[in-house]
Assembly symmetry: C2
Homo-oligomer: 383 residues x 2
Amino acid sequence: MNQAVYFGPLLAPRYPGQVTQSIPSSLAEIPAAVESALDNYFASRHDAIAGISPVTEQVALVLKDFTLNGGKRIRPTFAWLGWAGTKGLTLKDAAAQPEALSVLRTVSSLEFLQACALIHDDIIDSSDTRRGQPTVHRRFSVAHAERSWLGHGETYGRSVAILVGDLALSWADDMFMEGGLSPAPLQRAWEAWREMRTEVVCGQILDITAEAQGDSSVMSAQRVNRYKTAAYTVERPLHIGAAIAGADPSTIAALRAFGRAIGVAFQLRDDQLGVFGDPEVTGKPSGDDLREGKRTVLVALALEHSDARGRRELEAGLGTPLAADEVARLRTIIEESGASKRVEERIDALTAEALELLKDAHISEEVAQSLERMALISTQRRK
Amino acid sequence: MNQAVYFGPLLAPRYPGQVTQSIPSSLAEIPAAVESALDNYFASRHDAIAGISPVTEQVALVLKDFTLNGGKRIRPTFAWLGWAGTKGLTLKDAAAQPEALSVLRTVSSLEFLQACALIHDDIIDSSDTRRGQPTVHRRFSVAHAERSWLGHGETYGRSVAILVGDLALSWADDMFMEGGLSPAPLQRAWEAWREMRTEVVCGQILDITAEAQGDSSVMSAQRVNRYKTAAYTVERPLHIGAAIAGADPSTIAALRAFGRAIGVAFQLRDDQLGVFGDPEVTGKPSGDDLREGKRTVLVALALEHSDARGRRELEAGLGTPLAADEVARLRTIIEESGASKRVEERIDALTAEALELLKDAHISEEVAQSLERMALISTQRRK
């Protein structure tokens, strides 16, 4: 049996190459290459979905627009680095491997999973904007209103967005399976992929349940971070890449531990930005996390370390439609409790720990440097 | 490379066999065998999900309860028949095939897809009951209320149910991939599986969009039936089974055409039951489809063939919270328009057409008879 053709026959007619497919030979080139893989994947499915009806064609275009505009491609980047690094290759040499295109397509499927997670998350949080644009459910409720359709526009928008998320989740698996990997690496990568999909859903469930329970403990917030963000953003993408390469168990363990630490630090940065971020840069309204009542580690620490009055004010304000001056007041309470300083210290400690762990992984020098850089980008970013 | 072990290593530790796994050797035994495969699949994932948190363990148990209670297992049944029939086997001989267990597991994954479709559909339709039990979103909103949690119970229930549906969709792919098929049949089956997942989501999108547009045309309702029900309930399950067996293209084409006809007839029966069904038998409130304003072929025909007054009454009542006597009035209008008679005629014609198409398929005599029986069960059922 010719391993290389296992998913080959499925693949050929589905990549008409409507954009030039690039293979990244440097860290900076990865996001654009991922986007070209996604672009080609959408092109490959266009005719079938347009054949069903003009409505579904439009819906697929909304998904395409949402998926291709504005992401940082951080998950495929970690997966690509996990693959190239554990193969012991420079990024330039990785690009020249015969399987490079298959690996790129496979890891780009992480962006479909991310699209599903964001679309459904925005419904759950009733968010109006994402990446500075209307969220998917908002786009469809606005379309409903503009056309004076029957029923409630909000309900329609939410319903279509649930289904668009389902489509993205299905296409995530499709693209992952059809990337062109041969059976052995595909099977190894599947193990990490399967765990990750369940972990991210479970992390989300824990998140909203903690919010409903009013569970403001640091422990609860940390567990959410572990599953909702760390596993899914860094640990498993690195695992997938390393599994494709057939890396040794100790290297996989080191990369996963690095990923957990950086992933948690990534989420802590997110928490800081959700309260203190510049809306011009983040694309989200200032203080959104406070209005949503998110039980982040930042908030948990603030509640733990505020005086009784601050705690009362914070508890009373969280999850309510705060005005700008009220947001400012809660920010001051959080700052004065020392929570944001503590979070910064944790971010620094986790980053240092992660970089130390990286030394145990047998990976190429260039990828080690790239992972260091990604660690800093993930934890020092402004959006 | 040993083909048989391709997904074998993944599989072994995940089927601890907490219930006895039966292999069906007759049509009547298929549903229970599917349920034992699902039961074992849930058992295989229990420890990992319970390890995340007691909350996620509970959520998985709700999904298990929902998936295992009350379904007719019609999709796995068609897939099993598609496999056994195109292998030219009696059902008894099929059960003795070395790959029988793998096939059973693989086709049972259709029930996870169905679980996702139902859970998300119930959110979209704001349905309170399903199979005589509270819907998944209702279960979580009730749990929220009982525990006096924070925020809106309805929002919490809906949010968790979106995520439980996502979990079911992920596990559908997991179970499909890990059933134990060797690469060649798995790849063939994957083609049908992938198309089906997109078709059912597109059918749903068309359905709610037609409702929003107030599109009451017969054509629109027929397109929804084609994708939302026929492809997903009969055509693709048969296709998956036949693809696993490596059936010849003409047999696959005949089975798919049979499936499209029976699938559409199945939906027409559903439409009749949604208006005229006995709530004691269907487990759904009487006239639910009218309250939801579903644009079925039945309703489309009634609008087309009623007099002006009947049409006005029907249009005005559809999608409103009708009282029992108003439901009865709309039923009379639909009956008097001749629409339900026309729908019965269509069901009969489609069934006859389907049975004729079946003659072109090269399948075992016993499976041909079983498919005939399934065709009658699907189109003559009372729930």
